[in-house]
Amino acid sequence: MKVLVPVKRVIDYNVKARVKADQSGVDLANVKMSMNPFDEIAVEEAVRMKEGKEHHAAGTATEIVVVSIGVTQAQETIRTALAMGADRGLLIQSDTDLEPLAVAKLLKAVVEEEKPDMVLLGKQSIDGDNNAVGQMLAALLDWPQATFAGKIVIADGKATVTREVDGGLQTLAASLPAVVSVDLRLNTPRYASLPNIMKAKKKEIAVKAVADYGVDTAPRLKVLKVTAPAQRSAGIKVADAAELVSKLKTAGVL
């Protein structure tokens, strides 16, 4: 099975996003950037499928192609995935941050070229928090989708996916090819070893431009402003539980 894993370069999840004073967006100058953590989980799962780790049979995945759409530095993100065990990379260079619909259209074009059996990706990026690309790609390809995967089993041309839904778990069997988006508890991604980081330097990363795909990526949404949320101010310390209960009764919440 050939697996395509789209990855996004985003602000590192340990960094607190700060809004620019002119309200034009979030300040990313000199901020540490990393692979979107959900995408890292997708890469890890694909590599486990190839290695035959956990419940996966060895060779479940035969080739792992990583694609990123973004600035030149997104090659570093692709390189990280290659060091984790992916086989080759593709960067579709874009200096502007594309909307999920445009990303889904570009990925559809990549799928048509690469013909993977599965697209495995993070459920959302931690910058835009849209949670949309996987579902939109599945729609454009007319493929089945299984979002929020907490467990994936590949057998008999199907992906049996246990999804983390409100109130519990739901299991679906999606015929391949399919789009699967992953949730946090699917696995814990590895740190790439030094030899694998060295090896990854020799792996191929093809670089293309958005224009090469002839896809309409014009924005549909206009960002009018980006602001910081209202800050809560610290309240008071109370001496004991009795005082707390009395305050809560006065506030009308008990």
Partner: protein, 309 residues
Amino acid sequence: MAVLVIADRDGDAVRDTTHKTVTAALKLSGDVDILVIGQGSKAAADAAAKIAGVRKVLLAESAGLGHQLAEAVAATVVDLAAGYDAILSPATTDGKNFMPRIAAKLDVAPISDIMEVVSADTFVRPIYAGNALETIQSGDAKKIITVRPTSFDAAAEGGSAPVETTAGADGGKAAFVSEEMVKSDRPELGAAKIVVSGGRALGSAEEFLAVMDPLADRLGAAVGASRAAVDAGYAPNDYQVGQTGKVVAPALYIAIGISGAIQHLAGMKDSKIIVAINKDADAPIFQVADYGIVGDYKTVVPELMTALG
């Protein structure tokens, strides 16, 4: 301008996330219809018809729609889309699953998790885990929107809209296999008026249960947990409150042994009153708490139970 709200069905009822989405829809238009999807959903459609301000309720049934599978839901909604300028769903895991699929089929850029309706084409939504809010204007003729339920008041009951049936799509390349829902007599985390949440300080799954359950039962509260407590295996994943779990905004949120990492605060900082119980006086949770008690939960929680009577 007509708006379609996709109901969040709960057996024979609809969850109050539906009522809250109707409130958001009514800010866009006075002509709001509700679509109830499922199999054997007539009672739920009748319940939806009682929401005040609703023009009519559409009921779409088929075997494939019973589990809200994305392909069948999207096909059903796309068939109805011509009659609406906006389609809204609560930002539940179901809504997040099928709404972008619907949007792509209609060549529309979806708008996720709105917190405010500024005008018919302009909305406020959280980005960067709620550390920033973006105000965006949609240039699409049709709007496909998921609504953050905790940001809107529930529409009242008291309506009597007519219920009509509509075609329900079936089939798809993904089939339902099974589900495993957590059974509880307590209110749902997302809808509870009071939430008590435990953190890693509780130290074990047994202790979590022994401390949190009696307090939750006494208060009629839902139980939540920090991601640290979930990762440590003290509480199940669907208890998780935060950026990577559920976003809650109850009238009262009591955080016990939770330090207050950014990712947790993103999930509860819109609660009306926040109480923090933590033995570390410098824990960040106290910076957002209305009332804080610095002390060991092992002594404070039993005292709280006594004070509650």
